[in-house]
Each structure stands twice: as structure tokens, then as C-alpha cells.
Symmetry: C2
Subunit: 260 residues, 2 copies
Amino acid sequence: MQVSETNTGRSGGGATARRTRADQARRVADILRHQIHDGTVGDTLPGEQQLATEHRTSRNTIRDALALLRDEGLIDRAPRVGTRVAVQKFDHGLDALLGLQETLEGHGTVRNEVRVGQRITAPPVVARRLGLEPGKQVVYLERLRYLGDRPLSLDLTYLAPDIGARVLDHDLAHTDVFVLLEQLSGQPLGSADLAVEAIPADRHTAANLDVPAGAPLLMLERLTRLDDGTPVDLEYIRMRGDRITLRSSLSRTNPEWKVL
Amino acid sequence: MQVSETNTGRSGGGATARRTRADQARRVADILRHQIHDGTVGDTLPGEQQLATEHRTSRNTIRDALALLRDEGLIDRAPRVGTRVAVQKFDHGLDALLGLQETLEGHGTVRNEVRVGQRITAPPVVARRLGLEPGKQVVYLERLRYLGDRPLSLDLTYLAPDIGARVLDHDLAHTDVFVLLEQLSGQPLGSADLAVEAIPADRHTAANLDVPAGAPLLMLERLTRLDDGTPVDLEYIRMRGDRITLRSSLSRTNPEWKVL
């Protein structure tokens, strides 16, 4: 095998040593990032010396690792106060078809600012994905979704026309669309196809989500079908990268396990 | 229901009209983004007038939508040449435990620059997740992964000590770790827990992955177990947001379907 660098942080000089320290800082930062999200570190991180011991590295490397996490907005650092967790991040399950309010139950109340809710003529690709004839109308929703007073996501939703028209009659400010789709159709949701990307926030989206322009967003495209296979809901969801972690478990006993 | 804006783009004046056009541009951009990734638009996008007709909007809105995609690096625009797709994005299946080379079969050869491959003392949380006693050694790999000459991901990998030591004896530049784990253990991989985030590229990572500092990355943390349930592989994978789309299908017939 090839090993281009031993990563001991001692052997090389100059640029190599710096690169090695940056590599080690990233390695430590990744572990800390996930400890922050899963709550195992609590509100305050251990001191630099303890972290240096745990990760068998120098305090300088620990400082660099903490600087990376501070630059991501995950922690605050102050003399004497130490290193505090600055954000709470929420888990969103990728392998369950749950609405945001259901997902965040126990964390607070989801409020939706419904910015658009109207019938539009489906663009050709939207019609195709929803199994509609070209030129058919669909119901289009645009919702800015908050947990308490903090924006979490901006959701653009295209609904099949008949069920969509009935969705419009309901309280979309306080009810998940998934819940309404199951109530109105009288059947559970059956399946979904997901695509997940990391994209930068354009300026307009950034203003809506209260993040800097260019901030990383999780972009989820999801086509959801009823239990009988009817596609009903095509969504484009932008989630704040600093607020949401998508989680999934998979196992080979899963019949959906597939060779791509 | 509450509708704060009708999104017709005609009724309001000034700031409202501009906000509405930005909203419409984002809506069109989202649809085009996924058409670019799934290949339905080919190498060249339709002209502005055709897009305006398909999306029932103005050419100005189409121009704004294309500007968003250009800012993300997805397309190039030039007079007379039109709008060309600038990047090829690759799908990575979230619901199959496949290595990168297996996933990208048919797209080219994956080459791994092995930057680190050595035994280290496991940090406490790594030991815990791999089911090891505190202070045990693990095998640590750091690989910069290319498709052809284009960097796709930077992978930090902690392997259980026994199988990890045997992995180190193999050609890690050209072989997926998942393939080696199955060969060396004599059993298939059984299950995994995944967490997916969008994070900004720190400067050092950005240089490795050949993206601007702050560029959005998909960050995948994955703990993988053998078929007998033994955890063997804890990974922290940074994927270029402009190169990789994660995809998944799920259905209620799936026994892994769970209420979070």
C-alpha cells in the first residue's frame, strides 16, 4: 500500500508539519462534531488538556480543531468560560415518512409560514413525476418552517390536484402535509424516492433562512406515494445545514436492499 | 389557511415583486437542478423562451433561475452557445452498503491517495462506537478519493484492530475497504447507521478537494457492522457537494421502517 505521510506531526518540517496538524485537527473536529450533535458532551466541552489527552495530540491541534467547529458556528469559546455548544441540531429520520412536526416532537412546536398556496399549471417534469398529463394543474405550496422562532427549512411542494385542493382547505400553518395526505386519502403513505445534496444558500434563500449567503444547506428532493402506489407529493426542501442532521439505519435483512 | 403572498408576480410593486421573482426563480432552479442531475436535459439546456413557456413564467425569471445554477457551478452560459451543463454529478446509494468504486462502476476508475494508514490509540468515543475497551488500538486510514483526476471525497476511517491490521496489507489505492472487509471476514456487511450533514469546507479540506473555502460538502458519518453484528468500520466522509448526490428509496413494506 501507499502511505504518503505518517501523520505523526513530528517528523516533517515546515509545510508538511502544518498540513499534518491541520489533518489531525480535522480528524479531532469530526469526532467532536458528532459528539456535540448526539449530546454526549453536554453544554460545555472538556478543557483543551483533557481533549489533548483523549485524542493523544497536542493542545495546539485541539485549538485548531475547536477553531474549525467555531467557524462552523457549532461552539463559542471565551476565556475562563471555556467552550460552549452554541447550536442545537435536530435529527431528521431519512428512513421514516414523517412530517417535520412529528419528527421534532418533544423539541417544540413547528410553525409554518405559508408563503404560497395555490393551483398552478404543472411544469412538464413535475407532471411526469406525479403521473399527470402534460398541462394539468397541481397545487403548489411554499412554506418557511420554524421551530419556535428559528427557521429550519424552506419547502417547495407540488401536490397531485385532487388531494392537493383538499389540503388547501386545512390549517397548513400548524399541520404537516404528510398527516393531511394520510387523513384525506384514508391510506398511509407507502414509499418515497429521495435525493440529498449539499448546496450553497443563494442570497434570497439565505435571507429567508437567516443564514449567510453561501451557507451550506441540505437539499432534499422527495417524491412520495400513497400505499396504493399513487404519487401525490413532490417536494424540494432546503434545510439549514447547521440545524438538521439526516439519519438512517439500514440492514441487509431489508428487502429494499438493492444493488444500484 | 394563511397565504402571505400570491406569487403571481404582477400584483405587488417594488420589493414584493422582486421577492416574488426570486421565489419563482428558485422554484424553477430546483426543477432544473434535478433534471441536470438525472440527465433528462442532456448537455445543453433548452433556450430561455422554451423554459419560460414550460414553467409559465417570464424570461427574466428564467434568467434569474439560470444565474442561480451558474453560481452553484452547475452550468455555463455564453452568447450564441446557450446554456451548457458544466459538471457531471454522481449518484451514491444511501440504502446499499457499497464502496465508492462499486457505486461508480461504469463511470470510471476510483483511485485512492492513501495519506495515512497506521495503528493509533482509539479516542474514547471511537473505542466505544467500535465496541472496544478504552485505550485499545485501531487502524486509522485517511484517503483522498478520485474519479479519474477529479477529487470526489476525503474519507477518515477507523477500523477494528484485527481486521484493520489485515486491511493494511492490501492495495488500498485501488480497492474499496468494504470489499476487503467482506473478503477478510468471510461474511457480508450486515448493517450501518448513517448521519448526513451539510458542512462548509474548511480551508485545508477545500485545498484537498479542489473547491473554494466554504464550499458546501456532504458529510457522512457511518458506522458499519458485519453480518454477525460486530462493528468494524467507523467513517467520516466528506463528499464534494457539487459532485455527489445521495439517493435512497424507502417503503413501508421495509421492516426497518421505524418510528423515530
